[in-house]
């Protein structure tokens, strides 16, 4: 006998679990002010789609997917505000990336999203591909091109 996979948790749980991480990600992508609107839009979009979710798998990647699409659209509309010193993430598990992170603002939007999702949030390339609406290979390419570009600008 097979049992149906558990459905998604009450939205409150999903929201509590991911809101801070998604907020930080949007601040990285867009700067603090634009991140506020994007945050609201991300979770309103998530709510609209939530009733149709049939399982509780990959919710973190799903949240990043929505946030990435919102952020990419937002960056299409407006140039990002420069990130102030105080907005730089202070904690990062990858020190090499932490040294480059403040430069990601200058990358084209998909490269920026790919680099931040891969090195800042440790998302798998399959998830990044879903977020960017591209193939896995294209996601890998965007992240590595982004990192090469950063290295040229930065320390390496």
């Amino acid at each position: 006998m097979t049992t149906a996979p558990p459905g998604p948790p009450p939205f409150e749980r999903f929201y509590e679990e991911h809101r801070d991480e998604i907020y930080r990600y949007l601040v990285r992508m867009l700067g603090r002010q634009a991140a506020e609107d994007a945050f609201q839009e991300t979770f309103l979009k998530a709510l609209r789609a939530y009733a149709n979710l049939r399982h509780a798998r990959h919710l973190r990647a799903w949240a990043f997917t929505i946030a990435t699409r919102v952020a990419v659209d937002e960056r299409r509309r407006a140039r990002p505000e420069p990130l102030g010193e105080h907005e730089l993430p202070s904690l990062d598990s990858d020190p090499a990336y932490a040294e480059l992170d403040h430069l990601t603002g200058e990358l084209p939007r998909t490269e920026r999203a790919a680099v931040v999702l891969r090195y800042g949030y440790d998302l798998a390339y399959a998830d990044i591909a879903a977020a960017l609406g591209s193939s896995e290979e294209a996601a890998r390419q965007a992240a590595s091109t982004g990192v090469r570009r950063l290295r040229r600008k930065g320390i390496a």
Binding site: F11, E12, R13, R19, L47, R48, A51
Partner: protein
């Protein structure tokens, strides 16, 4: 870096304003302790004496849909009527209730229960008779024990045939306090 409080509050308000929630819930202080209140767009669907959201969110999501979010605004009318009730300004609730997911028998019992007037009591057997099933006193007791909207649906007004308080899902002390309040015996 965490989400600023005002941004969090704006999102919760907007989610409700756009009609995207299956259930909005919040907490409120009352003379019988902190209550968890929940509402759908059709009416109040939960009042819980257990202020731990932990135990309520999953059942609410199962019964009404997974878009369950803490959002204070939709609960304003509920809070207002409860305040009125506890301060002796109201002896009947105008709030609609949403008990649609309940089995027919339980809905029948609760609808009959809603007719027991403020300050009076009814027995389990009496309520059973009123729904045309005089032998079902025990089943009526079970249905009342799982009343999802206590206070508004006044299961505290139902007592044993000898007048004893018998039982209350929120604890006998609360049952006594609510009956005392309605009898004007006690300023809660």
């Amino acid at each position: 870096m965490t989400v600023p409080t005002d941004l969090d509050a704006r999102f919760r308000a907007e989610a409700a304003a756009q009609g995207l929630l299956d259930v909005a819930y919040d907490f409120t202080d009352s003379p019988v302790g902190t209550l968890l209140l929940a509402t759908t767009t059709r009416g109040v669907c939960r009042i819980s004496f257990d202020p731990e959201a932990e135990s309520e969110l999953e059942p609410l999501a199962r019964e009404f849909g997974s878009r369950v979010l803490r959002s204070p605004k939709p609960l304003d009318p509920v809070r207002r009527e409860l305040d009125d009730y506890f301060e002796h300004r109201r002896d009947a609730f105008d709030l609609p209730v949403d008990i649609t997911p309940l089995p027919t028998f339980q809905r029948l019992v609760l609808e009959e229960l809603a007719r027991v007037p403020y300050g009076e009591v009814e027995t389990y057997g009496g309520l059973a008779a009123k729904i045309g099933n005089p032998k079902a006193a025990r089943a009526v007791g079970g249905a009342l024990n799982r009343n999802p909207v206590p206070i508004v649906l006044p299961c505290h007004r139902v007592v044993g045939s000898n007048g004893s308080l018998t039982g209350y899902a929120g604890g006998l002390e609360r049952k006594r306090a609510l009956l005392d309040l309605e009898a004007g015996r006690l300023g809660l």
